[in-house]
């Protein structure tokens, strides 16, 4: 992928640049919180318990893959953290096992090769790029306004009152009810002010309006590149300041880079790439369930103290939630995450003789992250301050040594041989100090002011892993017509059992440049034609437990008579024979160029089979453990990818180029644990997804709703869940046993989209350039576990609810939209189609209009000046009403309350001197 565009439009993160650009590469922006990493999936997901993110390689340095946690977050950092996109020369994604062979041991999820800019021969060329813009949320969730909330609350309170005892009727006044109760219970008594003119003493609040804001984004980048016969250099410095679209959220980055290559003599080259960076993210904890954005959405839209709801001396509204004002909480809470990272590569290359070269590199990725959290007492529900300090250090060291031999015989035979070895060590330490029992002062936010420390919440932990690899590759070409590549590598990983650490990963590929053949070279309209076929094995060793092969003892303590007593117990079901997860890919492809390159297309078909999965197989808990990690199971991903570039208009003043990509991927579980027993998953209440042989990964598995229960249905003996009554949702009795139970869950779609597409149109006219990027997906489902906060059966009236409840069933005469059950229900809840949505969407990610002022203003102050304006995410559509972002779906198909994407207008300048 050509990344010249990286400076043409405002891009704050490298992964953002990859969105919609490449077929078979699904880049999901799972969060709109600035600075958060995207999730990248190459050709679907084939792993279940093991990691599913690609291997990132920056300037030849393979970075330890990060694992995404259940809420779609990269809690322990991501390889792309702090990387300045302005430094990137190119990004290439290796999808099939043969292409990725040289990284084969960890290439089962694909490899993203990132190359940073290097020096160029010539006098120094300086460039200065800056942009400024504003951003806003793409979406607000439709929830009830205050009047609608009152309508629902009244209905619930009255219904509950009537059903709470004999002689209780809806028309009894608050005073009458109070007299009967002998107390004032807001479960049974309404607020009389709701029905008074001007609702005295009550403020009606749209909390989302208070939460979202217009933020600013600013970026400054300065770089210089140049070189002479001895030294080539590229140096750069950058600063980004990006506000979130909600209060309290901000991301700042400072980074620098120096890439220097020295040519000592004809044979010897060496150099260093060094990139220190620092970022500060402010996030008081907006994202996810039971976090601040959840509190904003579900906050009672009525307050007696405006935005100062339930803070300090203010009591909560008696009919409202007990959560203090989320706005004041955000304003006063510190959630500060600082990452200091230095990426360093030192390399040397020596040509021993014609065609024979050795190369050695030493690479170090050193990351230090610190996180400070402090919430003062007056915005805490229990008026007690809380705080923590946590940090982690990641050190990833890689030494790689290679020998390369190139032979060119008469321009007929070309041979390239590569052999090498590498040693990689990854050390991860993390620490936390958790304050307890409040703070001595709300003004001191550091832990020295904490009244106590939680011993059980305070720790330091360390892990270390080692990877040793040997690899070789041979590439042979005959007259540039036939290309054959074969490679093999052998890798040992400390993650695995004593005798099973080593894996062998071979690959082979064939290429045939048909256009070089005589029989076709005179076909006028074909300018390129190539057929490709490849096969290869790749590995995966990313598993949540680095020591899963070792039986370990952990702590489980107790006390005797007030004396703390250390207890030690086995904590894992070790598998001493644990080894590599493998993926086998077969790929067929063709590249065709027509009409002198006016049309270029590329098509690939692949079958990728992950096998010997690192699978956490559920076992009877009677064994002492709930799962045992085993190399078992098989998942197949199959699909095709189309890339098409057409130069629709070229040569004239007006040019138009279209880049289009479309990919189709389906996956299927082929084998699971020893008995192929299905594996159920999904947190909260009952499970809602299933891994089952013959079905797509993480198929959603819920009860189906079919309208609303009528009195007639119940009289006819309709299947009920618990004590359901008229007006409650009617569920489908899938197993026909006469009752609704978890046994009525059925397969209900899969999270993996069938089609992912992207299209970039670029137009130029004289000095103007216009780029439009459209991107989308279809065929997948998303399950909004966030619905548990804002859309659940039996949800208390205090919590605000998704807006469609206003069309609910109220009586047989007023049945609403036939989907939403009555406001007051007590049957509890069962996972059903309520929270199931299509994850289809399309979005105009980006429209950029630029103008080259350099061609107009003749000056010797600068050699080039381009001005542009960009609109991001202004147009698009989705069918997702249960949350903010249909892309937020994590690999299990859930959205746990992800932060919305932003739409922005940004203007920028590109100077070159």
């Amino acid at each position: 992928m050509d990344t010249e565009i990286l400076n043409q439009r405002p891009i704050s993160k490298v992964d953002q640049a990859m969105v919609g650009q490449m077929a078979g590469v699904r880049v999901k922006q799972t969060s709109g919180v600035p600075g958060k990493s995207f999730s990248v999936q190459v050709r679907g997901t084939g792993s279940i318990s093991a990691g599913n993110q690609p291997l990132y390689v920056i300037d030849g340095f393979p970075l330890e893959p990060a694992t995404q946690n259940g809420s779609g977050d990269f809690g322990s950092g991501n390889p792309l953290d702090n990387i300045n996109p302005g430094d990137i020369e190119s990004i290439q994604v290796l999808k099939d096992a043969a292409a990725a062979s040289i990284y084969g041991s960890r290439a089962s999820n694909g490899v993203v090769l990132i190359k940073t800019k290097s020096g160029k021969l010539g006098k120094p060329k300086l460039s200065f790029n800056t942009y400024y813009g504003i951003n806003q949320t793409v979406k607000k969730l439709d929830v009830l306004n205050a009047e609608e909330w009152i309508d629902r609350a009244s209905e619930i309170i009255d219904s509950r009152w009537v059903s709470s005892g004999t002689g209780r009727t809806a028309d009894q006044t608050s005073a009458e009810r109070q007299a009967i109760l002998g107390g004032f219970d807001t479960n049974f008594i309404k607020d009389d002010r709701w029905f008074q003119e001007g609702h005295p003493g009550l403020d009606y609040i749209d909390w989302q309006d208070e939460f979202f804001r217009t933020g600013e984004v600013k970026s400054y980048q300065l770089s210089a590149r140049g070189g002479n016969e001895f030294v080539n250099y590229f140096i750069s410095g950058e600063h980004l300041n990006q506000d979130g679209i909600a209060r309290g959220v901000n991301y700042k980055r400072y980074s620098a880079r120096a890439n220097i290559e020295i040519t000592a003599n004809e044979k010897l080259k060496f150099g260093i790439n060094i990139a220190p960076s620092y970022s500060v993210t402010q996030d008081p904890g907006v994202e996810g369930k039971d976090n601040l954005m959840h509190y904003v959405v579900s906050a009672t839209p009525i307050s007696e103290n405006g935005l100062d709801y339930n803070i300090g001396d203010n009591a909560p509204y008696a009919w409202g939630r007990s959560v203090p004002s989320p706005i004041r909480t955000i304003e006063n809470t510190i959630g500060e995450n600082k990452i200091f990272r230095t990426l360093t590569t030192l390399f040397g290359e020596y040509e021993i003789s014609e065609g024979l070269r050795i190369k050695s590199s030493l690479n170090l990725d050193n990351t230090e992250a610190k996180n400070k959290y402090f919430k003062p007492s007056f915005v805490d529900r229990n008026r007690q301050a809380s705080g923590s300090f946590s940090s982690y250090q990641k050190q990833n060291f890689v030494n790689e040594n290679t020998v390369n031999y190139d032979l060119n015989f008469n321009d007929t035979h070309t041979l390239s041989l590569l052999g090498g070895a590498s040693y990689s060590i990854f050390k991860y330490d993390n620490q936390r100090i958790l304050a307890a029992e409040g703070f001595g002062s709300d003004d001191i936010t550091t832990i020295n002011a904490a009244n106590n420390i939680s011993a059980s919440g305070t720790y330091t932990l360390e892990t270390k892993k080692v990877l040793i690899s040997y690899f070789g590759r041979a590439q042979y070409g005959y007259q540039d017509k036939y290309l054959v590549t074969a490679s093999i590598r052998r890798d040992g990983s400390s993650n695995f059992g004593r005798d099973t650490k080593w894996g062998v990963f071979p690959s082979a590929s064939l290429g045939w440049n048909i256009d070089k053949e005589k029989f076709i070279s005179n076909v006028e309209f074909i300018s390129n034609m190539k057929l490709r076929a490849s096969w290869g094995l790749a590995g995966n060793n990313t598993f949540s437990d680095d020591y899963a092969s070792i039986s370990r003892i952990g702590f489980s303590n107790y006390s005797y008579n007030g004396n703390f007593a250390t207890g030690q117990v086995p904590i894992n079901s070790a598998n001493p024979n644990l080894s590599w997860e493998e993926s086998e890919t077969i790929n067929f492809g063709t590249d065709i160029g027509l009409f002198k390159g006016r049309i270029f297309t590329s098509f690939d078909y692949y079958v990728k089979t992950n096998k010997d999965l690192l699978l956490s197989v559920p076992v009877p808990t009677a064994s002492g453990f709930s799962s045992a990690v085993t190399n078992i199971g098989k998942v197949e991903n199959r699909g095709w990818e189309l890339e098409l570039t057409t130069r629709n208009l070229q040569g004239g003043e007006f040019t138009w180029t279209t880049n289009f990509n479309l990919s189709h991927n389906t996956n299927e579980v082929k084998q699971l644990g020893p008995d192929n027993s299905p594996i159920l998953g999904g947190s909260f209440d009952i499970e809602h997804n299933i891994l089952q042989v013959g079905q797509p990964l993480y198929s959603l598995y819920v009860v189906q709703q079919d309208g609303i229960l009528s009195a007639q249905d119940i009289a006819n003996g309709a299947a009920l869940y618990g004590n359901q009554t008229e007006g409650d949702p009617k569920y489908v009795d899938a197993n026909g046993d006469g009752v609704i139970s978890p046994a009525d869950r059925v397969l209900s779609g899969h999270p993996n989209p069938d089609y992912v597409y992207g299209m970039t149109n670029t137009f130029t006219y004289k000095g103007f350039d216009l780029t439009v990027l459209l991107q989308g997906q279809s065929g997948g489902k998303i399950y909004s576990t966030f619905g548990r906060a804002i859309d659940r059966t039996g949800q208390g009236y205090q919590d605000n609810h998704l807006g469609f409840i206003r069309d609910r069933w109220r009586s047989p005469e007023d049945p609403g939209n036939g989907i939403e059950g009555k406001a007051y229900s007590t049957f509890g809840r069962i996972k059903n189609t309520d929270w199931l949505y299509s994850s289809d969407y399309w979005r105009i990610r980006n429209i950029t209009l630029g103008y080259d002022l350099g061609s107009v203003i003749k000056t010797n102050i600068f050699s080039g000046l381009r001005i542009y304006v960009t609109a991001e995410n202004w147009f698009g559509d989705d069918n997702y009403y249960g949350g903010f972002n249909p892309e937020a779906v994590n690999s299990n198909g859930d959205d746990y309350g992800a932060f919305p994407l932003s739409k922005s207008i940004v203007t920028g300048l590109n100077f070159t001197f």
């Binding site: 059903s163 107390g183 004032f184 219970d185 007990s322 050795i358 050695s360 529900r381 229990n382 040594n401 029992e437 106590n452 939680s454 011993a455 059980s456 919440g457 360390e462 892993k465 080692v466 040793i468 040997y470 040992g492 400390s494 020591y547 070792i550 039986s551 370990r552 952990g554 489980s556 303590n557 107790y558 006390s559 005797y560 008579n561 007030g562 007593a565 207890g567 030690q568 117990v569 086995p570 079901s573 559920p618 009877p620 808990t621 009677a622 064994s623 002492g624 453990f625 709930s626 159920l680 209440d685 009952i686 499970e687 009752v739 978890p742 059966t793 949800q795 208390g796 007590t826 069962i830």
Partner: protein
């Protein structure tokens, strides 16, 4: 040129130090270095005890909430305890039922691990060896007893089974589970010491083993109800009485004079305590959750407790409240009739505050410091009374004496001619909130009638179903049923 090739070879060789691949955990201990001396086994046995820490909360939900002591319907019906309270039939996916199953088996696994590893070579002192073995056996029996009372048939493991092996072990008949329980407890009574020094107080004694053994005999003697449940109709009341009389006559325990002092944070290990679960507050991870579980969140807030417990009030049933005689001092000690919230409104929902001392709140809701009495002396004398009334050897005078001791302590006048119904009612009041009621009803064959007639009156909100014999047990957790098809059968009455 040769020089460079040598260099390359050297660098490759330098890389081949594949011993680096043998990484061992840094922040955890490998088990191959463990179980090597007495200290290791002391820690390993403590690890079994720690499995007890969640027991009171599970009992509160599975026993107290199931009984007629609580009408625990949450306002919206969505709490995990709602369907337990309501006798819902689709409970197999309930998290509390699964957690309790898993925790009991974790305890059994830890006990089996100790018993498999324990030899006189690693623990040379014979008395220590006996005690460690006795503690492990007692705890294994204790967890199996909870399993058999809660789920009926369960797989029996008398040693550590690998996960693969457990896939081949189905649920054993209740009688077989009891065989292991009885063998373990009988052995424990001889292996365990009578008492401990103050730094080990709270460990299980031979008296505790006898008390549980008596309780097991009493439970086995209960009716079968035609289900594979805890009752075997075994008529072992005299075996039970043998244990209870031994404890009463020879044990170091006594009847406390002051009811409130039994649950006093400053009076732990009082004369009533035959066996308890130990807790320590202070943020070190060994505190208790159970004291504030029945209590609504708002009550903690109005009393300036610095943390939330996220709970709603577990409403004490009107039936229980109406059972107290006016002079009964226990009503106010055990139950709060409601509270005035932050808005100044009185919420008239009664809930248990039996174990709550707001001045002793720890760092969070899991950090209360009060030990949980599992067997108190009053249990022994009332179980003895029950055994006599159910046909064991003893006199009506003994029965009356036990009940009148309790009544006297509660500020009530004595009664005579105590029958089973009266005994159950007196126990209900004495042990309100202590999760005894349900098992008392099950053992004495009265559970189905008592509960169903109670529901008819109490359930004004129409939130509950009636029960039948099958609801004496809970279902096997669905997560265990789905591990392997046909490994475990489901209890009848659940879907």
């Amino acid at each position: 040129m040769k020089k460079y090739i040598t260099l390359i070879l050297l660098s490759v060789l330098a890389l081949s130090c594949s011993e680096d691949l043998d990484q061992t955990p840094i922040s955890e201990q490998g088990s191959n270095n463990f179980y090597r001396n007495t200290a290791d086994f002391e820690s390993a046995v403590t690890g079994i005890y720690s499995t007890l820490q969640s027991y009171p909360v599970y009992q509160f939900y599975l026993s107290e909430t199931r009984s007629d002591n609580l009408y625990a319907v949450s306002p919206t019906g969505v709490r995990a305890y709602d369907p337990i309270n309501a006798f819902d039939r689709s409970l197999a996916t309930n998290t509390i039922i699964a957690d309790n199953w898993n925790t009991d088996f974790t305890g059994i696994f830890r006990a089996n691990t100790v018993l498999d590893q324990l030899t006189s070579e690693v623990v040379p002192d014979a008395a220590t060896l006996d005690r460690l073995k006795g503690e492990a056996k007692f705890l294994r029996a204790f967890f199996y007893f909870d399993l058999v009372r809660t789920y009926g048939k369960v797989p029996v493991f008398n040693r550590v089974y690998t996960p693969t092996e457990t896939l081949e072990v189905p649920r054993a008949p209740v009688a077989e589970v009891y065989d292991l329980i009885l063998a373990d407890l009988i052995e424990a009574t001889t292996l365990l010491p009578d008492s401990y020094g103050s730094d080990s107080l709270g460990k299980v004694t031979s008296w505790a083993a006898k008390a549980i053994l008596g309780q097991v005999y009493l439970t086995r003697s209960g009716p079968t109800y035609g289900i594979e449940g805890p009752g075997l109709d075994s008529d072992e009341y005299n075996l039970a009485l043998e244990q209870f009389n031994d404890i009463i006559e020879n044990g170091p325990f006594g009847f406390a004079d002051d009811y409130a002092r039994i649950f006093d944070y400053n009076n732990e290990h009082n004369e009533e305590i035959v066996f308890n679960i130990e807790y320590l507050s202070g943020g070190v991870g060994v505190g208790a959750e159970y004291p504030s579980v029945p209590v609504p969140d708002g009550y903690l807030r109005v009393n300036s407790v610095g943390f939330s417990n996220g709970e709603t009030a577990k409403q004490v049933s009107a039936d229980l409240i109406n059972t107290y005689e006016e002079e009964d001092i226990r009503a106010d000690l055990d139950i709060l009739q409601g509270y005035t919230d932050q808005n100044g409104n009185f919420n008239p929902v009664p809930f248990y505050t039996k174990y709550l001392n707001l001045d002793r709140a720890g760092q969070d809701r899991f950090d209360w410091g009060l030990n949980y009495p599992l067997i108190r002396y009053t249990d022994i004398i009332t179980m003895k009374a029950e055994a006599i009334l159910m046909g064991g050897t003893g006199t009506q005078a003994e029965v009356d004496a036990a009940v009148n001791a309790i009544r006297d302590r509660a500020g009530l006048t004595p009664i005579a001619g105590v029958d089973l119904t009266t005994l159950l009612q007196e126990k209900r009041l004495e042990f309100a909130g202590e999760s005894r009621r349900w098992y008392d009803l099950v053992r004495t064959g009265t559970v189905v009638n008592t509960i169903n007639s109670w529901i008819e009156i109490e359930d004004v909100q129409n939130r509950m179903q009636t029960m039948d014999e099958n609801q004496i047990l809970f279902p096997v957790p669905s997560s265990q049923i789905t591990v392997k098809e046909n490994l475990y059968d489901q209890n009848p009455g659940y879907n």
